[in-house]
């Protein structure tokens, strides 16, 4: 009965408006190449500062869901994925658009995204409370092992493990700026009082993911832009739907599972789902030629990741992917610390998030289908105006949280750092997640050492600690083993 009462605030007009607006904004942001869902969430976190928690968080979730879906629009019409999550959608989406079936391709992508999200939302509402129940029994050593696992898996999954690890270590070191969490001793503040509580998290996120994109856009200025394909039609045929059913179910399942694993993300899920759909298809040769099941496989998987990635964030306080890491910033500025305790102390927020995920999915489907006829117009926004507007939003957003001008320098500094990292192949995601998990790892490591009298054995005993440490070793060793196997196969 309580749960129904917790859902009621979602149906207040201003909350529905916020979710609808967030989802629509997310679709537009995701559709524009170069603007990602991560950037959209980071940029709009400050807007939610003054909102009630359920309204603010669900608006951000709307941007996330809309942003991941929106990536398919430019993937299909321009052959340029709006977000990395939609890279695999290009394979069948663009050939369909070239064959005059752009509307049908967008329709299939919208239906598949909505199915993937709905499936993953049900899993989220079912699994997250169970996982949180287990996590409530964690002590300092377990939390340290969990944070260590989160850090290493993100480093190991960021393409180049060495650069991922450097990015992670750099993030932990940067997170040490300010007062130390146990004794309050100031570290690396250079006498600036504004740094006493460390770098403000949201301006750092805005810099890392939004301002860095501005620099990237500056580099791309001279490039000629493709003209989007013309759109006609909207709904896939019955035969398309029948052929795509298996890919859709499998994609939703793959996306949800991958979303739960910290550090993987939508891009990985859509590629795995695409390969699986082709491998198990009776007509694998049709994939890549403009075949609807190819779109169903990728879009159902990348959208399912959105809700899947919320599971470790809400239940363990560990972000499932980089967007949820940014989303964590949105929860934190509302004064909420994601993790098992949130299920005990604020069940209204948790149930509100579950309900909001469903609502954002419905809005995504409605807006997605409605926007299909004008989808190509979205892609014609003038680039220079857009770039400068993002700069203005970055500044206002960073300033509005604490009304502190030091945050502006923080944002610009992290923007330059993020652009440099992106340019030289380092992982912004690993740095961002290390900024979050660094303090968690340090506080629990040092608290654990204090409690046990520097007994390091406590950190390698107990089934949960051993499980996470084992997973840490596997996540570090796996890329090396895979590289060795690939080298041996090539030889």
């Amino acid at each position: 009965m309580d749960y129904l009462a917790y859902l009621l605030p979602l149906f207040q007009p201003q909350v529905l408006w916020a979710i609808a607006l967030g989802t629509l904004g997310g679709i537009v942001i995701g559709a524009l190449p170069g603007l990602t869902a991560t950037m959209g969430v980071a940029l709009l976190i400050p807007l939610t500062f003054g909102m009630p928690p359920v309204m603010g968080i669900n608006m951000l979730i709307g941007i996330y869901i809309g942003g991941i879906y929106g990536g398919c629009i430019s993937a299909i019409l321009l052959r340029t994925p709006g977000t990395p999550a939609s890279a695999a959608t290009v394979l069948d989406g663009y050939p369909m658009a070239r064959n005059g079936e752009a509307g049908k391709a967008l329709g299939m992508a919208t239906i598949a995204s909505a199915c993937g999200m709905l499936f993953a939302s049900i899993v989220l509402a079912t699994l997250a409370p169970q996982l949180a129940g287990v996590a409530l029994k964690f002590g300092a050593p377990e939390y340290f092992a969990l944070a260590l696992f989160g850090l290493t898996i993100i480093a190991s999954l960021s393409g180049d493990i060495l650069k991922g690890a450097i990015s992670g270590c750099l993030g932990v070191l940067i997170s040490c700026v300010g007062a130390d969490p146990i004794s309050g001793v100031l570290r690396y503040t250079f006498g600036v009082s504004g740094f006493a509580s460390g770098f403000s998290f949201t301006p750092a996120l805005i810099g890392l993911f939004a301002l860095s994109e501005v620099f990237t856009q500056l580099e791309r200025l001279g490039r000629t832009e493709e003209t989007p394909a013309k759109v006609s039609g909207r709904w896939p045929s019955y035969q398309d739907m029948r052929e795509s059913a298996n890919a859709l179910v499998r994609g939703s399942l793959i996306g949800t599972i991958i979303g739960v694993i910290p550090g993987t993300g939508s891009g990985t899920a859509s590629w795995i789902s695409y390969n699986e759909a082709r491998r198990t298809s009776k007509t694998p040769e049709r994939f890549g030629t403009g075949y609807a099941p190819g779109i169903a496989a990728t879009e159902s998987a990348n959208s399912a990741v959105c809700a899947g990635a919320l599971i470790p964030l809400l239940a363990l306080g560990i972000p499932g992917d980089v967007v949820t890491a940014v989303l964590m910033g949105g929860l934190m500025i509302q004064g909420l610390a994601p993790g098992p305790m949130l299920f005990e102390t604020r069940p209204d927020i948790i149930v509100g998030i579950f309900g909001g995920t469903f609502l954002a999915t419905i809005f995504m489907f409605v807006f997605g289908m409605m926007l299909i006829p004008i989808a190509s117009k979205i892609l014609l926004v003038p680039r220079r105006i857009l770039t400068m507007s993002i700069v203005v939003f970055c500044f206002i957003g960073s300033f509005a949280i604490n009304l502190n001008p030091v945050d502006l320098y923080t944002m610009v500094g992290f923007g330059i750092l993020g652009w440099g990292m992106q340019k030289y192949g380092f992982s912004q995601a690993a740095l961002c997640i290390a900024l979050i998990l660094g303090p968690l790892a340090e506080a629990n490591l040092r608290r654990g050492l204090l409690q046990t009298g520097d007994d390091l054995v406590a950190f390698v005993s107990g089934p949960i600690t051993l499980l996470f440490l084992g997973l840490t070793v596997i996540s570090l060793a796996l890329p090396y083993l895979q590289a060795r196997r690939a080298k041996r196969a090539a030889a």
């Binding site: 450097i166 001793v185 620099f215 220079r384 105006i385």
Partner: protein, 159 residues
């Protein structure tokens, strides 16, 4: 090959940064309250890790460069420290970054409207926009609309 050259430069930059961080870590004072893990424990651990990983990055890049030049005969590998970027693009980005630092400094004393307007117009010109409608009229409208939206609807105070 460009990535190999830049990896050596980035690795060396990280080593220099680690030396700086180590110097600053020497100044961290505080009681470790009977435990091995005081306030400087994690910073030292991370500095050590960054040094080791940076050395690995430099060595990996050198080894890859040697392998690549051996493959291409005895021709030495070209080294590019700019990640393949044109000088003009680099200059534009440097100017843009300097403009953003100046914007941060001017945001409070000048106020949102004049500071943003100047930066918006300067940014549009820097990006090569020459149509007065786009580099002047639109920035005035957007800056004003954003100010109105944030201060009136979202109740955000702007200087």
């Amino acid at each position: 090959m460009q990535r190999i050259g830049s990896d050596v430069a980035v690795g060396c930059g990280l080593l220099a940064f680690s030396a700086f961080a180590a110097w600053r870590s020497l100044g961290i004072r505080g009681q470790s309250a009977g435990t091995i893990a005081g306030p400087s424990f994690l910073p030292w651990l991370m500095i050590g890790a960054i040094i080791i990983l940076s050395l690995m990055l430099v060595l990996r890049a050198r080894r890859a460069a040697a392998a690549a030049s051996a493959e291409a005969g005895s021709r030495p590998a070209p080294v590019d420290h700019g990640g393949g970027m044109k000088r003009r693009d680099l200059l534009r980005i440097a100017l843009f970054a300097a403009m953003l630092v100046a914007y941060s400094a001017a945001f409070m004393p000048l106020g949102y409207l004049p500071a943003t307007l100047i930066v918006f117009i300067a940014g549009m010109l820097l990006m090569g926009e020459r149509s007065p409608l786009k580099f002047f009229v639109l920035p005035v409208l957007i800056t004003g609309a954003v100010w109105f939206g944030f201060t009136r609807f979202l109740q955000v105070w702007l200087p």
